[in-house]
């Protein structure tokens, strides 16, 4: 069966490693913070200028000077530090963040990603997404396999304007997990969601891909 939002977040949390510094995008990626394994040291970065991001505050303890990149009120933890936006993106652009988990509208088999703009619709802006996909060492996309019209979001080529070209390392969807092969030869299906078949993925995926040994 396709993964739920919570299951997607839980699966994405398996990308975390002890000692990692991680930036989580808005939406499902934010939920990944709830699935950090006990005892694993994972430090969350918020691109508006914080390393070591804590959970949401208790009611009445909100601080207007303390928000995350989604403008939500958050809290401080013992290892927290604050810095300017320039220093924050120096950290991102300089390749110091181990992992970025973010959502997408489309991902292509060459690692292109589109998640900021639909021509003809109001464009709100790319925020920090272009910096994150270009700068973070490993970029993992978490998204539904298909859009609301049932069309594959895992494509041969993106149709929307790109956020980054050739930057995605792994795609986690509600149906499957694909790796973007580092040699540029395309996607490899490395995992199926519980109860999902190879045929189902094949039917719902526009992109070409190989299947890793032992999958399916």
């Amino acid at each position: 069966m396709p993964r739920t939002r919570e299951q997607l977040a839980e699966r994405a949390a398996k990308e975390l490693q002890d000692g990692f510094y991680v930036n989580l995008g808005i939406g499902i990626p934010t939920l990944v913070a709830n699935y950090i394994p006990q005892g694993m040291e994972v430090t969350l970065q918020s691109e508006n200028g914080m390393l070591g991001m804590g959970p949401f505050p208790y009611e009445g303890e909100e601080d207007p000077d303390l928000i995350n990149a989604g403008k939500q009120t958050i809290t401080e933890i013992p290892e927290s530090s604050y810095f300017s936006s320039a220093d924050s993106f120096a950290m991102i652009r300089g390749g110091h963040i181990n992992l970025s988990i973010l959502g997408a509208m489309e991902v292509a088999q060459n690692g292109d990603i589109a998640n900021w703009m639909i021509p003809g619709k109001l464009v709100k802006g790319m925020g920090g997404a272009m910096d994150l996909v270009a700068g973070v060492r490993r970029v993992v996309v978490v998204m539904d396999h298909a859009n609301k019209h049932g069309q594959s979001k895992v494509l041969k080529e993106c149709t929307l304007p790109l956020t980054g070209a050739g930057v995605v390392d792994r795609i986690i969807t509600d149906l499957a997990v694909f790796d973007v092969k580092p040699d540029g030869s395309g996607l490899e299906l490395v995992e199926l969601a519980d109860g999902v078949t190879l045929d189902e993925v094949a039917a719902k995926t526009e992109a070409a891909y190989t299947v890793a040994p032992g999958v399916g």
Binding site: F56, K71, M117, K124, P161, L162
Partner: protein, 234 residues
């Protein structure tokens, strides 16, 4: 004491002119110079190019300058939270230049640091790189981006001493320190002005050299996305 002004009006006096470029600090509504924005509105200055990561919300922050049509152009990374913005933009009344957030931050830092241009991998292969020089270094492509400066920077800090040394608080720091360096004139509003010598010199975020005028103000500090968690049952 020469940098300290009595109020917003006097702090902005003589600094505004139609068609000027203004940098305005803050991320979302966090750390915005809300009193100085209101002061710009009251000054009546028109045709502004505003460099700010976001555009405020309806009726607050830069939303106030949009309502009065004082802004001709925005340079921002994300502007989603503002209906009046949307209306003006879709009607073609407002020019908009999107920069990736990190590129925007670095362009401002570069402007203040005397760096007219730099290369970044952000935006390569996207619309952002169109019309710009792209060059390979060590086998990877980078796009050239230019430094930004402004006629006026308006900045929000937490504390200042009388010489203009500034300290910011938590994530309200964001774009403020770089903008303080990139304004031909920089005006700062703070919650508290303390005697010179009472801030730890190792912990000053923005040295007074970047601060031309200083006012102490009371801030509403509106919260955009109040998000809380439940207390565990007792």
């Amino acid at each position: 004491m020469r940098k300290i002004y009595a109020d917003v009006t006097s702090a902005l006096e003589g600094l505004t002119f139609d068609g000027m470029t203004v940098m305005s600090g803050g991320f979302g509504l966090c750390g915005i110079p809300e009193n100085l924005i209101a002061g710009l509105r009251d000054s009546g200055v028109k045709g502004l190019t505003v460099i700010s990561n976001n555009a405020g919300v309806d009726g607050f922050g830069l939303g106030q300058l949009l309502e009065t049509r004082q802004i001709a152009k925005m340079i921002s990374s994300y502007v989603g939270e503002n209906k009046e913005f949307e209306r003006q933009y879709l009607a073609g009344e407002l020019e908009l230049e999107f920069n990736p957030q990190g590129t925007l931050a670095e362009r401002i830092r570069a402007g203040g640091a005397g760096i007219p241009a730099f290369f970044t991998a952000t935006g390569v292969g996207t619309l952002v790189a169109e019309g710009k020089e792209v060059r390979a270094f060590d086998g990877r492509d980078y796009v050239m981006e230019t430094g930004l400066v402004a006629d006026l920077s308006i900045v929000k800090a937490w504390k200042a001493d009388e010489r203009g040394n500034l300290v910011f608080r938590k994530t309200a720091r964001n774009f403020n320190p770089m903008m303080a360096t990139a304004g031909k004139v920089t005006v700062v509003e703070v919650e508290e002005i303390v005697p010179t010598g009472s801030l730890d010199p190792d912990h000053i975020h923005t040295p007074g050299i970047y601060v031309d005028r200083l006012i102490q103000t009371v801030s509403e500090k509106r919260i955009e996305q109040r998000t809380v968690r439940q207390r565990s049952a007792a």
